[in-house]
C-alpha cells in the first residue's frame, strides 16, 4: 500500500492555499491579503480553512476568526452564483432601502446574509457604494442598479439565471 501522507493526498483546496501563502508570505501582516485571495478562489472561508491558515501563519485561530467576522468582505458560508449587495448607507436608507431589502427577502424567501437553497442568489447588505445620487442603490455581481422601487425587483432577479 502506498503512503497516504504528504501533498499527494492533500485536499486540493489546501494545495492552493499553500501556493497563496508561498507567494504572499506567512507573516501576520499578510492576514487580510491571504484571506481575501483564499476567499477569491474558494468562494468562502470555511472553518478548516481558517484553522489551517492560523496554523500556517502562527497566529491564534480566534484572531483569524476575529478578522473574518470584522470585515463584511469576508464570508464563512458558501455564497450563491449571484451576489446581491443592497446598500443600507444613510442616503439609501432614507430613500427606502429597507423596503427594497424586505422585498428581496420576500421574493427570494431568505433572510439577509443567506443563500437560496438552489444556490442561485446570496442576499447581503452593505454600507455605501459611493453612489448616493442613485439612492436607493444595489449591486449584483458588480453591476449597479439605482433609483429603485419595489416594483423593479422581479425584473432584476429575472436578469440573473
Amino acid at each position: 500500500m502506498s503512503c497516504q501522507c504528504g501533498s499527494a493526498s492533500k485536499d486540493e483546496r489546501f494545495v492552493k492555499i499553500d501556493q497563496i501563502l508561498d507567494q504572499n508570505g506567512r507573516d501576520e501582516s499578510f492576514l487580510i491579503q491571504n484571506l481575501e485571495q483564499i476567499q477569491h478562489i474558494l468562494g468562502y472561508l470555511p472553518e478548516d480553512v481558517q484553522a489551517y491558515l492560523a496554523e500556517a501563519m502562527g497566529i491564534p485561530l480566534s484572531k483569524v476568526y476575529g478578522v473574518v467576522t470584522f470585515y463584511s468582505l469576508f464570508t464563512t458560508e458558501p455564497i450563491g452564483k449571484h451576489k446581491i449587495s443592497i446598500c443600507l448607507g444613510t442616503a439609501c436608507y432614507v430613500k427606502g432601502a429597507g423596503e427594497i431589502l424586505a422585498e428581496f427577502e420576500k421574493q427570494l424567501k431568505i433572510k439577509v446574509g443567506e443563500t437560496t437553497p438552489d444556490g442561485r442568489f446570496t442576499l447581503t447588505a452593505c454600507r455605501c457604494l459611493g453612489a448616493c445620487g442613485l439612492a436607493p442603490v444595489l449591486n449584483v455581481n458588480g453591476k449597479v442598479f439605482g433609483r429603485l422601487t419595489t416594483d423593479d425587483i422581479a425584473g432584476i432577479l429575472a436578469q440573473f439565471e
Binding site: 501522507c5 501533498s7 492533500k10 485536499d11 489546501f14 499553500d18 472553518e47 478548516d48 481558517q50 484553522a51 489551517y52 492560523a54 496554523e55 500556517a56 497566529i59 491564534p60 485561530l61 480566534s62 484572531k63 483569524v64 476568526y65 476575529g66 467576522t69 470584522f70
Partner: protein
Amino acid sequence: MEMVTVTIDGVETQVPSDYTVLKAAQKAGVHIPTLCYLKDINQIGACRVCLVEIDRARGLQASCVYPVSEGLKIHTHTPAVLEARKAVVELLLSNHPQDCLTCIRNTTCELQALAQQMGIDHVRFTGERKEYPIDFSSPSVQRDASKCILCRRCVAVCNQVQNVGVLGLINRGFESIVGPAFHRGLGEVNCTNCGQCINVCPVGALKEVDHTERVWKALADPSKHVIVQTAPSIRAGLGEEFGLPIGTPVTGKMVAALRRLGFAKVFDTDFTADLTIMEEGNELLHRIGTGGKLPLITSCSPGWVKFCEHNYPDFIENLSSAKSPQAMFGALAKTYYAENNNIDPATIYSVSAMPCTAKKFECARPEMEASGYPDVDAVITTRELARMIKKAGIDFLNLPDEDFDKSMGASTGAGVIFGATGGVMEAALRTVYEVISGETLQNVEFNAVRGMEGIKEAAVNIPGFGEVRVAVAHGLQNAADLLDRIRSGEGDYHFIEIMACPGGCVGGGGQPIVSGPMRLTLPEDYQALRHKAIYTVDRDKTLRKSHENPEVIEIYEKYLGKPLGEKSHHLLHTKYTKRPKYSVEIPDQPEK
C-alpha cells in the same frame, strides 16, 4: 531615565519621560479612574474612562496611552472630563444586565465601583441590550457574555501572557463579543482552564465553575466522611478575602475555619507536595541513570499539562509521570487513609481547596480514579473557600491558629514553596542534592530559581554527580518561549519546572482577584508579595527538605514501599494524551 516636568491639576511634578499621563498622575497622588487598562497587560485606550484634558491637545485624551512630555499641562477633573467619563460609564451600563445583587462580583465589580464613584444614581440611556446564553461547556471557567463590557483584558492575558489565544474579539460594533473562534464553548477548544481571564475580568462575565454547593451538601450528609486538603498557596492568598494585606500567611486560621465548616479532617496538600518531590526526584535520577528522556519537566500544573498536550505534544514524553500533589492526595485519601482508619472509601468525600481553576478539570481526568473511586470529589478555589467561610458566619480574623490533622498533614518548607514559581525546582534540588551526594545541604535556599523573572536558569554543582542544569518558566508565554528554545537545539537542561500561571500557583486563576486600580498602587507585583508569605512559612519550618518529612518516611515504610515502586506506580503516577490544537481537523502544513 530622563525626567520631564508636567503640571497635573496645577501642581508641578517630575516624572520619567517614558511615563504615561495615567502613571504620572498616580505618582502625583491623583487616581484617574480606569477600566480597560491593566498594568503591564492591557493598555489600549479603548474604554475612555481615563479621559483627561491636556492643554493644546485636541479633545479629551485617554491618559493610559498618552505619553508625558516636557511642559505638559494636564487637568484630571474639569467639568468636561467628569461629564465625559460619566457618559462613558452610563453608556456601558445601558448595555449591562445590572443584576448586581445576584452577581458574583457584587461589591468587587470595577464597573459598579466606577458607577458609584461617578455618582450615577440612575441610568439615563435605555436601548437594545445584548443577551447571550451562558457558556457552561468548561469544567473550570463559566462565561457570561451578556455581562461582558468588551474591555479585552481577558483577551490580552489569554493571548499575550498565556499564549493560549482562545479568547478573541468576534464581529464588530454593537455585535462585538469576546469568545473562542466559531463561537465555540471554552470547553470545546484548546483552553487550558488556567483561569487567568477570571483574574483580570473587571465584571462578572468570567467566573469559576462553582463547586461549593456540592461541598455544602456533602458536609450536611451524615453518611459522608468529608475531608479536605489545602494547597500551599491558599494560606498565602486567603487573608486578602478578609481584608488582610497581600502576602499575609494565614495557615492556622485557615485550618481552624475549615474545622468550623465541618470537615472531619483538615489535611495539607503540602504533604503530597513532599511526596511528589520523592517520586519526581527519583524519576529524575532514574532518567539520568538510564539514559531516559530529558529534560524532565514538572507536571503539577494542570494548566501547563493541558497546554503541552494541545500545543507541544512532542514534549509529552518529557513530562514527569508523577501526579500532581492534589491528585496524589486524592488517590491516597481513599486507600492509605481509609485503610489506616478503617473507613469505607465509598463514604469518603474528598475536597480540595486549590488556588487553581484547572484543578477542577484535573480531578475529572479519567486517569484520576486510581483508588477505584473519583480520587477528588470537589475542588474549591481560594475564592470559593472564602465565600463558604463568610456564608457560615465564621469570624475569620479572630480565629485561633490550629494545626493540620496527623497522617497526611505534616509538611516541610519544601512542600510549601510549591506555591511560588521555582518552588518545585528548589524543593527538588534540596532533596536530589542530598540523595546524590550523601552530604547535608548547608544553604537550602536556591535564590537563582526564585523571583518573577519569566525564565530562570541555574546550574547546581552536586558532589558525586557534577552539574545539574535546570530552568524554570511561569506563565505559558514564557513556557512556550522556553520550549521553542529547546526545540531549536538551544538550552540543554536536566530538569525544568513549568507553571501555567504568572508567579506560580500564588497567582493562580482561583486566587483572590486584584483589581486593575489596585494593581496600579502596589509597590510590586501581587504575585511577588504573595511569594513573601510562602517563603516566610518555609523559613519558619524546622524541616525544609521533603525527604525529612516524618509522615512521608512513614508512608513509604508502611504502605508505598519505595519511590517509583509498584504501589507508587499504580497510585501516584499517570500518563498524558495528545489533544488537538483546533476544534476542526486540518491537514499537515507543507515541509519547510
